[in-house]
Symmetry: C2
Subunit: 294 residues, 2 copies
Amino acid sequence: MGDDAAVLAVPPGQQLAAATDTLVEGVHFPLGTAPSDLGWKALAVNLSDLAAMGATPAWALLNLTLPAADAHFVDGFAEGFTQLARPYRLALVGGDTTRGPLAITVSVFGFVPEGRALTRARAQAGDAVCVTGSLGDAAGALHLPSRDSGQGEREVLMARLNRPEPRIEAGLALRGAASACIDVSDGLMADLGHVARSSGVGIELELDQLPVSTALLQSFGAEQARAWALGGGDDYELAFTVPAAAVSRVLDELARIGCGATCIGRVVKGEGVCVLDGRGEPVQPAHRGWEHFS
Amino acid sequence: MGDDAAVLAVPPGQQLAAATDTLVEGVHFPLGTAPSDLGWKALAVNLSDLAAMGATPAWALLNLTLPAADAHFVDGFAEGFTQLARPYRLALVGGDTTRGPLAITVSVFGFVPEGRALTRARAQAGDAVCVTGSLGDAAGALHLPSRDSGQGEREVLMARLNRPEPRIEAGLALRGAASACIDVSDGLMADLGHVARSSGVGIELELDQLPVSTALLQSFGAEQARAWALGGGDDYELAFTVPAAAVSRVLDELARIGCGATCIGRVVKGEGVCVLDGRGEPVQPAHRGWEHFS
């Protein structure tokens, strides 16, 4: 930094993975979100993209647009950003600060050995479909009642909304094991739809297998929790496919690094993503309560 | 593209130069700027940073924030962006489109042979200070009277504001020849101030040597033209220092590739940037009319 551009060296034998996302106040985060949470989340949503590629984080660019010079905001933002960046030794190598309506663009760059990046395009019929962690918490956090309906649950869900943990280590563990991988940002069905399309396959999900947190279940009940697990979005978990013979080895390896993961379905011939109930019948979204996510 | 991140290969022996800039409507460009001009300029201001490093453009990321889906805007923007990108074979490798107040973030990436990037930090006392092209036109364009005071001049100045030509080829020619280089975006004095600070030197400029266009002179007169040349900004020319013995060779080489350049001063011991009149007397900004650029 200090010159017109940063000059960076990619290690020999490594490719560069690049991802970028803009967050706009009132669109991607509520007014009044704590600056430190914003700093964390703006980086986290980008690192989640690197995780889905099986890349090791290296550098970031930060473009911060603020209505006015605001040291309180900048200090808080930097604190949250740095908390997440430091363990990865991620270097902020450039960016700018401009005046305007509050918005944040972060771009991240990571390394991946040549030809070993995870993609969305190699899922095959017969593969298992799995997902890390639990789903739907962030959507639940946005719908918490204003009165305190259980302080413990509120804290768990708000942390999942404001401080998502990008699954970097899981992405590295899945390199060479998963046939396809994507991060769950738009919602599980939408994101697995991208995998299905890119791979030219169909995907069947088991409604009863969707991993949801106790906090979400206790706050909203099973039906609403599953609806948000399927379509709520903002989860930043990894959804991936893996050959059936390798499933238990892969889940064991993820458990070893402290990352829970659950098999939630299978890759089939065909197209699209469908959800099956406990009897193997396709769920009719109109009867299950999540039609408003379409 | 199509996965969570782009996967890119940097050629062996090359470093990566990275630059990024955000443009916000009403701050960096007037409301009503043509979308195609915006597409061009959002890329141009970033390529100008690569030019100042002596880097060859390779990739770009584009984050576009729009108040509403607007095919007319997107088509126009893409047209201007592509017009500038195509001759450089610049590949758009990622980005996003979000809803919000109109703003554009472009990040660009270029290659430079290991250790050969131009910087701001190696100007030495005795070096000549030079600048490509002419200065002040963009500032003049923002002050054109609404009535038509000369259609030819208006077109020249507006083109300089809306369609700046990044000095990529000049930057490549200066690699290994210039001791320091910067692009003129904030204004000549401010930007040479960065060079002086980074290099630990002072800079003296000759007021009479500042290159200004005929269009600017005819529209605003010499005094105002020079004021804008010193502080107007938005020029996207390269200001550089070069050892005195190499000046004529460097200027000849630039002329050969169709890029005019002018010697406008010298590097001296000391600090800061000062401007001398025709008698070698320091100009007092308060008496010369550009105090409002401080």
